[in-house]
C-alpha cells in the first residue's frame, strides 16, 4: 500500500508540476501573441492587403494562452483534491483548448507558406502609388512601402528591376524615362532628396538601392509565424503528456 501511495504521490507531484508549466507557458503564449498582434514592424498593412489574415493565428493564441492558464489552475486543484468531477471537466476543456491551439499552429504555418515574394510583388505593383486609391488600405500600402524602402535601404521586392520588368500603377503615372524606379529607391541625403538624381536614374552603383525588400519583410513575418506555430507546437506536446498522465490518474481514483 505504501508503495502504491508513493506512486500516487509521485504521479500527483508530476501532474502538478506539469500543470504549473502549462500555466506559465499559457501566459507566455498570450504575451507573445499580443506582441505580434501589436504590429511591431509596421508590416500589417501589407499582410492585410494580401487577403490572408496572418493575425488570425495570433488572436486564437491569445485566448488559448489564457485558457491554458485558467485550466492549469483547475488541474492543480483537481489533482490535489483527487476529485473525479473536476478532473473530468479539466480533461474535456483541455481537449477543446488543444484543438483550438492545433488550429492556430496550422493556420500560422499555412499562412506563412502563402507569403511568397510573388504575392508581395503583385500587391506592390498593383497598389503602390495608385493615383486614385479606392480606399484607405491602398494609400497605407504606399506609405508602408515608402517607409520600408527608406528604413531598410532597399527597392522593390526582388530589386529595382521589378519596376522595369512589369507595368504597374506607379508606371501609369510616372514615365519610365524620368522614373525608372521610384525616388525612394535612390540613396537620399539628410533632407530626403536623392544624393544624385542622374546617378540614381542611370543606376550607378552607390546612388540607388540595389537589393530587394523581401528579406526585410520575410524576416519579421517568419519570426511571427514560426513563433506562434512552433511555440504552440511545443506547448501542445507537453500538454499531451500531462493530459495522458491526468487520464491515467483519473482512471485510478476510486469513487
Amino acid at each position: 500500500m505504501a508503495k502504491s501511495d508513493d506512486c500516487v504521490h509521485i504521479l500527483q507531484g508530476l501532474l502538478v508540476f506539469g500543470n504549473v508549466v502549462i500555466g506559465m507557458c499559457g501566459i507566455a503564449l498570450t504575451a507573445e501573441c499580443i506582441y505580434f498582434v501589436s504590429n511591431p514592424h509596421g508590416l500589417y498593412p501589407l499582410l492585410k492587403a494580401t487577403e490572408n489574415d496572418v493575425n488570425a493565428a495570433a488572436w486564437i493564441g491569445i485566448f488559448v494562452g489564457l485558457a491554458l492558464f485558467a485550466l492549469s489552475i483547475l488541474g492543480i486543484i483537481g489533482v490535489i483534491k483527487a476529485s473525479r468531477t473536476l478532473l473530468l471537466v479539466y480533461i474535456i476543456l483541455m481537449l477543446i483548448t488543444f484543438a483550438f491551439e492545433m488550429a492556430s499552429c496550422i493556420t500560422a504555418a499555412t499562412h506563412r507558406d502563402s507569403l511568397t515574394p510573388e504575392l508581395f510583388l503583385k500587391q506592390m505593383l498593383e497598389n503602390y502609388q495608385k493615383s486614385e486609391p479606392a480606399n484607405n488600405s491602398d494609400s497605407e500600402v504606399t506609405k508602408t512601402w515608402d517607409e520600408l524602402m527608406l528604413q531598410n535601404h532597399c527597392c522593390g521586392v526582388l530589386g529595382p528591376s521589378d519596376w522595369q520588368e512589369y507595368t504597374s500603377a506607379f508606371r501609369g503615372t510616372h514615365s519610365d524615362a524620368d522614373y525608372p524606379w521610384p525616388r525612394t529607391c535612390c540613396v537620399l541625403d539628410a533632407q530626403g532628396l536623392p544624393l544624385n538624381l542622374d546617378g540614381c536614374k542611370l543606376g550607378v552603383p552607390g546612388y540607388y538601392n540595389s537589393n530587394g525588400c523581401y528579406d526585410a519583410i520575410s524576416g519579421p513575418v517568419n519570426t511571427h509565424a514560426w513563433g506562434v506555430a512552433w511555440f504552440g507546437f511545443a506547448i501542445l506536446c507537453w500538454t499531451f503528456c500531462v493530459l495522458l498522465g491526468t487520464m491515467f490518474y483519473w482512471s485510478g481514483i476510486e469513487y
Binding site: C105, R112, L121, K122, E165, P180, G203, F233, S251
Partner: protein, 212 residues
C-alpha cells in the same frame, strides 16, 4: 567676235569631292561601371565617343537613332532639325532621327579616369510632344531594335561618321497579372506540425474513450 572654239569655260574653283570619313568606332552601350539603367523600357545609355572625332574640331557631332531595319537606308545628307529627322515623327513616318548635338569640346580626350562618361538616349521628357524641338532627345516609343551612329556635320555637310552600332533592344514590361501567386506548396515544417498534432490529438481522443 572671237568665241570659244568649243567646250565651256572651265570654272576657277577646284572641284570638291564630298567624302564622309568612315571612323573606325562602333557606338556601344555603356559597360563600365555596370549601370542598372543601361537599358530601360524607353531609354538606353551609350558610351560617349571620346577620342574619336579628334580631327573634326569644328564639326557638330550628332547622334542618329534609327530603327534597325531602316539603318542602311539613312542618308547622311539629311539635315537635323527638319521634319525628315524630327523626333516627334519617329517611328512613323520618320525612320531615323537626329539628336544630342554636341561639339568636340563636350567629349574631351583622354577621358579622365573615374569619370562616368555616358549619353542617356531618351532622357528628355519635356519636349517629347513639342514639334518646335525636332532634335529632342525624347523617350523611345518602343522596345526596338534600334541602331545608332555618330555623324559629324560641318555646316550642313557630313564630314565623318562612325559605324552603325549593333542592335539595341530595350526592355519590355509584362503585366503584373501574369505573376502567379498560387504558392509553391507547403513547407516541411507545416506538414510536420499538422501530422504530428493530428496524431497526438487522435491518441488523446482514443484515450478519452478508453477511459470513460
Amino acid at each position: 567676235f572671237r568665241g570659244c572654239s568649243g567646250g565651256s569655260t572651265p570654272s576657277t574653283a577646284p572641284p570638291r569631292l564630298l567624302i564622309t570619313a568612315q571612323l573606325r568606332y562602333t557606338p556601344v552601350l555603356a559597360q563600365s561601371p555596370p549601370l542598372k539603367g543601361q537599358t530601360t523600357t524607353s531609354t538606353f545609355v551609350l558610351d560617349q565617343p571620346r577620342c574619336v572625332f579628334q580631327d573634326y574640331g569644328n564639326a557638330d557631332i550628332w547622334l542618329v537613332v534609327a530603327l534597325a531595319p531602316a539603318s542602311s537606308a539613312f542618308n547622311n545628307t539629311a539635315a537635323p532639325g527638319t521634319p525628315e529627322t524630327a523626333f516627334q515623327r519617329f517611328p512613323d513616318p520618320v525612320r531615323a532621327y537626329m539628336t544630342l548635338n554636341a561639339t568636340l569640346g563636350s567629349y574631351p580626350c583622354p577621358k579622365p579616369a573615374g569619370d562616368i562618361t555616358v549619353l542617356r538616349v531618351g532622357s528628355e521628357t519635356s519636349c517629347a510632344e513639342d514639334t518646335t524641338r525636332p532634335t529632342c532627345n525624347g523617350p523611345l516609343p518602343g522596345p526596338g531594335p534600334y541602331q545608332v551612329k555618330f555623324l559629324a556635320l560641318q555646316g550642313s555637310e557630313p564630314v565623318a561618321e562612325t559605324a552603325w552600332s549593333g542592335e539595341i533592344m530595350l526592355k519590355t514590361a509584362k503585366s503584373p497579372s501574369s505573376i502567379s501567386t498560387t504558392g509553391s506548396g507547403h513547407s516541411a515544417g507545416m506538414i510536420a506540425i499538422t501530422t504530428i498534432l493530428s496524431i497526438l490529438f487522435a491518441i488523446l481522443l482514443a484515450a478519452l474513450v478508453a477511459m470513460l
